[in-house]
Symmetry: C2
DNA sequence: GTCTATACATAGATAGAC
DNA sequence: GTCTATCTATGTATAGAC
């Protein structure tokens, strides 16, 4: 493996572990076992190296979720993916980037992250649609919304685990999500018993596509 | 407002906006409009100031969720809290800290964050328990697990929004979560139609309390 | 291609005057 | 209590030899 590949892998690893802003070129070169010259020969700088490392990280992460599009029972695929082992306290190598101020300020890096999330969202939404079409989930669930929800449970699970320094919170979050899916699946032909109006107390409510960021800013 | 308070507020604001590692004492002093001497007179250093600022941020964040423990319909309170306006692209001032390498390495700061999450978890779990006891949610849902799930949806929603630079993904995630709760609520006395066994395909499955971090490390 | 030496800015903190 | 001046370490990048 040449210096270039070693540098990319070292950067990918450090990006996951420490983020972009907190990772110095020096650390990367040390981890890769190469000198300064090599790095600035193969890359124009830290940014350039990070871009290539992020592509690698994203490919790795996406490969782990290929099971969503496999054959077989769609609802099972959703649940299996939610319950698949994930290193909670290490965090998500892609999601982590969204909290890094230097990444947010770097259109190229942020763009990569955004695209990766979009791609993942499509994977989830497609599988959810399959499950609904197969009658495994109630049709009133919106595949796009639910895809965001499940993606959020995953990303949030990492956050909870890191906050506690333990795997447990992430696992609990995943079990809870699967239990909700199961509960929803159990009533895929709901026979509404009586007009329930406690939702009305919420006010006009939010329609799909309507944003709720109108007022809050601070 | 004295220099001390000005510094704490400025730090709290910058912690939210840029994180801990990326916020320099100089920036804080500039934002507060005071000189170096003031800061090192009132605080032993960046760490000390950040601890006091985090306490302020956590108090602010917790106050926003007091509605969970209000009177009235528990399920409505859960849903109202999920749908409450939140500044997705700004992120969560507490959850953000879990991605900061310097925070992770600082037991005092990390401890504050962990405690805040625990407290929030109790709020959610208690309200969920109320909803189950009131027959609004099916009893097979575990309040502790579901509390983690909903907390994760919130935290993850912020991540999705930041990844896209848009409010929409967070709103979608929240709508999806509410829709799942509604679907689960609709069948709180499920009349199982036929033995469904597609869950069995997942293998032995995970029992409550059993962790899934056995193998994965990289 | 890879190395060492060097440059320049910024981080976090201290010294000491007012 | 608050200020300015200063200190040391580190971050990122460049220069130029091998």
């Amino acid at each position: 493996m040449g210096s270039k590949e070693k540098l990319i892998e070292a950067m990918a690893s450090l990006l996951w572990e420490r983020g972009y802003a907190a990772t110095s070129p020096r650390e990367v070169m040390a981890a890769a076992g190469v000198g300064q010259g090599s790095m600035y020969h193969h890359f124009s700088g830290k940014h350039d190296l990070a871009v290539q490392a992020m592509r690698l990280s994203i490919d790795t992460a996406m490969a782990r979720n290929a099971t969503l599009t496999a054959d077989g029972d769609p609802l099972d695929r959703l649940k299996a993916n939610l319950l698949a082992p994930r290193p909670g306290t290490k965090g998500c190598r892609v999601g982590r980037m969204t909290q890094d101020p230097e990444v947010l300020a770097d259109p190229e890096l942020l763009g990569l992250v955004g695209e990766a999330f979009e791609q993942m969202h499509r994977l989830w939404a497609d599988t959810i649609r399959e499950a609904i079409d197969a009658g495994q989930l109630p049709p009133q669930l919106d595949p796009e919304d639910l895809a965001s929800t499940l993606q959020a449970v995953l990303q949030g699970g990492y956050v909870l685990s890191r906050a506690q320094g333990e795997q447990a919170p992430m696992d609990a979050a995943m079990r809870g999500a699967v239990a909700l899916l199961d509960a929803a699946a159990d009533c895929r032909d709901p026979a509404p018993k009586a007009p329930r109006n406690h939702t009305a107390a919420l006010g006009p409510g939010l329609d799909r596509g309507e944003h709720i960021d109108k007022k809050e800013s601070a």
